[in-house]
Point group: C2
Chain length 329, copies 2
Amino acid sequence: MQSREMQLVRRPSGLPREDDFRLVERKLGPCPPGLVRVRNRFISVDPYMRGRMTSPANPFALNEAVPGRTIGEVVESGDRRLRPGDLVRSMSGWREAFDAPAAALEYLDPRSLPPQAYLGVAGVSGLSAYAGLVRVAQLKQGETLFVSAASGAVGMVACQVARILGARVVGSAGGPEKCAFLREIGVDAVIDYKAEPDLDAALARAAPAGIDVYFDNVGGAHLEAAIAALRPFGRVAICGMISIYNEAALPPGPANLVTIVGKSARIEGFLAATHMDLMPEFIRNMEAWIGSGAVRYRDTIHDGIEALPRAFISLFTGANFGKPLVRIP
Amino acid sequence: MQSREMQLVRRPSGLPREDDFRLVERKLGPCPPGLVRVRNRFISVDPYMRGRMTSPANPFALNEAVPGRTIGEVVESGDRRLRPGDLVRSMSGWREAFDAPAAALEYLDPRSLPPQAYLGVAGVSGLSAYAGLVRVAQLKQGETLFVSAASGAVGMVACQVARILGARVVGSAGGPEKCAFLREIGVDAVIDYKAEPDLDAALARAAPAGIDVYFDNVGGAHLEAAIAALRPFGRVAICGMISIYNEAALPPGPANLVTIVGKSARIEGFLAATHMDLMPEFIRNMEAWIGSGAVRYRDTIHDGIEALPRAFISLFTGANFGKPLVRIP
């Protein structure tokens, strides 16, 4: 059986390029006894991967398949816990097919959402939004939340979960189409940052009394504007800073950081990995919320394993809407 | 009765100057019925006052006595709860004497420490250290703490309370005399930042496995080095950023702020005012710790109300050792 995989062959400098990656053919022999053979159906591309590609501390290996989350279907099983046709989530990476022990595969019993939702809105992207609001920022009813990259895979969930929690939501996105979507999903005030010469002024208009929580996906000018708008005892949950992942040198941090002293404010970074214990509660909630229409979502589907580099690069160019996924035929 | 007061007459630009202040004579008539007349004996000068002098949101008034904490002695009382000779702590500001309702005066029953200690080591300076470690950073036994301005009024308490809590302490101060004092009070590793060309390297030598908590009094390069050295789930408690209070424009923030995401780290500003409920517990502990020799402290005493501007300015030039106080004869 043939299985192609997409390898990282060069550490990106700045915005990743398609030739930082290489598609390699692998032959899978017979499935070894006791293992399970899986065909991936959807592969996730995520902003955090950019950091790992050039991380001094914890880098992805070169000339190996890029690690990452996938949804796949069992095609052969040497373990009685899984059967052909079963859907599994795993960290199998950018490959068409693979063999793994059942313990490395998370069985998804037949559920109400399409399989790819468990990589996005009901997957780790959505969990990031949920954990960031509920556990890190501890968003409360009646508070005002500001979300950047609000139409992205994480941001759109943050906006809608915050509304369910009873918060007022200000969302920022780039361009009229994304902003229209934010209005559709109930965001109270929408900022098109590409059309705004002054983000501080735009945020002051959108939240005249300031904000209690900022959910940061982008860093840079958004973070600085959010710190300026923070109310006393405000919280910033930093999920990511996509604006700087491709910078050759780290740009300066927010000059107004000192103002968090007088406001008794808090800035906290977090990783979804720390909050995996919330996953069962999160999935239950999300299935109910999507079922009732309280949460809506969008994916951007790219087709074929060849599309992985392009889908990944699109994360940084604003070309995506919602969660970008690669579908394996 | 004459009472002189030190007024702010011009908002400082950069480092405050003595002529930003003016000494004004006031006549106090007979003490009004029901009020209490107090002669101040010690007046506190604190870094946070610099911010309030030019704060857009919450500025000190011009041509009035600078607000601030004092220890005074009751000289006349129209309230049966206080008697001449009683020691009181209050926010009476930079004045020799004043009349106030008893409710604005905190009675200090005869205690084990000299009166001025209740403005410094056992006052709000010390409480800032205590609250920052115990409540904000939640420092735990066995963790490593880094403290900047470690020989200052707040820093020296932070170092010693952290040792009592069972933490390993790295302290930074400027010059051999201050560093010698840090060694005397049991700081495990001392950094003379004025003699160190590379603060990151010095901190890496002092804490090879990184730090769990940074208690920030200075901001700037110290904050950036501390963020670089933070371990996963590290905390930064920001008490102040004295390095930037006199800057005309806010300098850039730490470029490595983004690294708190991967470390799940937290940066939190705080004000002692939020944690005044800890004061009774704090004073009890501090009296016991000073009594047993577990905590030692130093003051820098300036004499006479005329010395207030000079004492205040000395906060920013590194000329002080421990808590600077002005004694009123």
